[in-house]
C-alpha cells in the first residue's frame, strides 16, 4: 500500500487526505452530472458568483448549461427526506476565469450537510473547514462572519431596501469612505452611520471582535448572530480564527454563519462556505443546510 501512495503527487495526496477527513465524519461522496437545464441557473442566478454560463442545446431542444456550481444541484437532487444528509464532492465547474476573459474549467471539492442541521452539525462543518486548511500544512486563516449581524443592524437602522446593496458592497471591500457616502444617501443619522461603520467594519481575532460585536448589538437578530458565531468557534478559538463582516453572501440564499479560508502566499481565498437555509426553502427542501467549497486550482496553484 505504501508503494501505491508513493505514486501520488502531493496534490493528489492532499485530495486523498481531505477525502479521509470528510469520510471519517460520515460524509459520502456525491457524483454529479456535468450539466443542468439553463433555466435552473437563471432562476437561481443570485446564488452564483457570476451569471455567465456555457450553454448548448440538448438533442431534444432543451437549453442546457455546463455546471457553474455543484451546491445547487446537490440541493435539488439530494433531498434529505427530513433526515440528515452528509455529502462531499470532487467535481469540475465551468465559470469565467478570475484571471482572463475566457471560461475556465475549475476543480472544486466541497461538502454539504443537509436536512436536520443543528448546532452540532454547524460546529462539525466549521471544524472540517478548519481541518481542511490545517492539513495543507501552510499557515492559514479561517475567517468567519454571520449574515444576521449586518442584516440585523440594517433592519434596526431602517436602511431602505434599495440602498442596502451599495452599503453591502462597501462593507465587502472594507471601504469606510464609500460606506459613509452610502449611509448618507440612505438617509441615516450621524449616530446611525457611525454605528453602521463601527459594527460592520469590525475585524480581527475572534474573541476580541465578538465582545465588541456583542456590545454593539442593537436587536435580538444581532445578538443571536454573535451567540451563534461564539458557539460555532467554541474550542477553535486560536489566532488563526478571525471574525470579519466583509465576508458575506446573498441574504436570499445564505442564512447564518459564513466563512472563508485563506492560505499564506496565495492570492485568493481557497475555501468559502456558510449556512444556506434560505436556499433550501427557495427550492422547497426540508430543513437547513451548511457546506463549503475548496477551490483546488487556487489551493494547488502558485
Amino acid at each position: 500500500m505504501k508503494n501505491l501512495l508513493d505514486i501520488l503527487s502531493p496534490d493528489e495526496l492532499t485530495v486523498l487526505k481531505l477525502r479521509g477527513l470528510f469520510e471519517e465524519k460520515g460524509y459520502r461522496r456525491y457524483h454529479s452530472g456535468r450539466f443542468e437545464e439553463y433555466r435552473f441557473y437563471l432562476e437561481n442566478q443570485r446564488f452564483l458568483s457570476c451569471d455567465m454560463l456555457i450553454s448548448f442545446n440538448d438533442l431534444d431542444g432543451r437549453l442546457m448549461a455546463l455546471k457553474p456550481d455543484v451546491t445547487l444541484s446537490i440541493v435539488k437532487n439530494a433531498a434529505s427526506g427530513g433526515g440528515l444528509k452528509k455529502l462531499y464532492y470532487i467535481e469540475n465547474v465551468y465559470r469565467p476565469s478570475p484571471t482572463n476573459r475566457n471560461f475556465a474549467e475549475i476543480s472544486q471539492m466541497g461538502l454539504e450537510c443537509l436536512g436536520r442541521v443543528g448546532k452540532q452539525e454547524i460546529s462539525e462543518v466549521l471544524r472540517l473547514a478548519y481541518g481542511s486548511l490545517k492539513l495543507t500544512e501552510v499557515p492559514f486563516r479561517l475567517v468567519i462572519s454571520h449574515v444576521g449581524y449586518v442584516a440585523g443592524l440594517m433592519r434596526n437602522l431602517r436602511v431602505p431596501l434599495q440602498r442596502r446593496a451599495a452599503i453591502y458592497e462597501c462593507i465587502a471591500s472594507k471601504n469606510p469612505h464609500g460606506l459613509r457616502l452610502a449611509a448618507s444617501e440612505a438617509g441615516l443619522s450621524q449616530n446611525g452611520a457611525e454605528l453602521l461603520e463601527r459594527a460592520s467594519m469590525l475585524s480581527g481575532s475572534a474573541s476580541g471582535v465578538l465582545k465588541e460585536a456583542a456590545a454593539l448589538a442593537r436587536n435580538t437578530e444581532m445578538e443571536r448572530a454573535v451567540n451563534q458565531m461564539a458557539q460555532a468557534i467554541d474550542g477553535l478559538d486560536d489566532e488563526r480564527v478571525l471574525v470579519d463582516f466583509s465576508i458575506r453572501g446573498d441574504e436570499d440564499y445564505y442564512s447564518g454563519l459564513m466563512f472563508a479560508g485563506y492560505l499564506e502566499g496565495k492570492s485568493r481565498m481557497v475555501l468559502f462556505g456558510g449556512q444556506y437555509d434560505n436556499m433550501m426553502k427557495k427550492m422547497n427542501q426540508e430543513g437547513g443546510a451548511i457546506g463549503f467549497a475548496i477551490y483546488l486550482d487556487e489551493l494547488f496553484g502558485r
Binding site: 475567517v143 471591500s173 472594507k174 471601504n175 469606510p176 469612505h177 485563506y262 492570492s267 485568493r268 481565498m269
Partner: protein
C-alpha cells in the same frame, strides 16, 4: 515586509513623498529609471513603480500586498481587492464631455469615445440609452472634434484642455481620487502592518 505598488507619474511621486514623510522612505525617485524595486528593511517596506492601470493587477494577484491607485481605474477594472482609504488627493472628476451646448435628442445610437469603456457602458446602461462605445487609448478630446464620436467619457482635472477645444463637461459621473488598496489574502496575514500604515496615512492626509 510589505510590498507596495505605486503608480508611475505625478500620483506616484506624491505618494512616495508622503510615504517618506511618515517613515516609510525607500529609495530616491530619480533612480527609478534604472532601479525597479526599492527596499527599506527597517521600515519593512518594498516599493515598486508600475503603470497606473497595473497597480490593481499587482495587488489583486498578490505580487503587491497593497497599492495606491486612482478610483477611475478601480471603477473601470473592478478588481477583487479591499479599498481601505480615500487619500483625498489626485482629485478629478469622471465626466461626460462634448461640444458646448450639445443636447442629446435621444434619437439613434450615441457614439461615445473613452478609455473607460466599462464605466461608460455602465453609466449609459443605467440611463437606458443605447450607445456605441469607441475604445481609445489617449487624446480622447480629439474624437468629437474629428467626428469620430458625439461625446467622450474621460477624467477632467481643470477642464482647460476641454475649453481650449471648445468642449465642455456635460455631466459629472463620479468624483475621483487616490485610494489605498490591499490584497484580500495579504490583509488576513498582515493585518497589523497594513492597519498601521493605513492609520499613519489617514492621519497624514487628514482622513478617517
Amino acid at each position: 515586509m510589505l510590498n507596495i505598488a505605486l503608480p508611475k507619474g505625478r500620483l506616484g511621486e506624491k505618494v512616495h513623498g508622503l510615504l517618506s514623510s511618515v517613515g516609510y522612505a525607500a529609495g530616491d525617485l530619480s533612480d527609478m529609471g534604472r532601479k525597479l524595486v526599492f527596499e527599506n528593511e527597517e521600515a519593512g517596506v518594498r516599493l515598486f513603480l508600475v503603470k497606473p492601470s497595473d497597480v490593481a493587477i499587482y495587488v489583486e494577484h498578490g505580487a503587491a500586498n497593497i497599492g495606491i491607485v486612482g478610483k477611475d481605474i478601480l471603477e473601470e477594472d473592478r478588481p477583487d481587492v479591499y479599498e481601505l482609504l480615500d487619500l483625498g488627493f489626485g482629485k478629478c472628476r469622471m465626466c461626460v464631455a462634448g461640444p458646448k451646448g450639445f443636447a442629446d435628442d435621444g434619437c439613434g445610437t450615441l457614439r461615445v469615445a473613452t478609455k473607460f469603456t466599462n464605466v461608460a457602458a455602465r453609466y449609459y446602461a443605467s440611463l437606458g440609452r443605447e450607445v456605441d462605445i469607441i475604445k481609445l487609448n489617449g487624446s480622447i478630446e480629439l474624437a468629437p472634434l474629428l467626428g469620430l464620436s458625439d461625446l467622450i467619457v474621460d477624467i477632467v482635472e481643470t477642464g482647460s484642455t476641454l475649453r481650449e477645444n471648445n468642449l465642455a463637461v456635460l455631466t459629472e459621473i463620479m468624483p475621483i481620487s487616490a485610494r489605498l488598496i490591499a490584497n484580500k489574502v495579504s490583509f488576513q496575514f498582515q493585518r497589523e502592518e497594513i492597519g498601521r500604515l493605513r492609520e499613519i496615512l489617514a492621519e497624514a492626509v487628514g482622513a478617517k
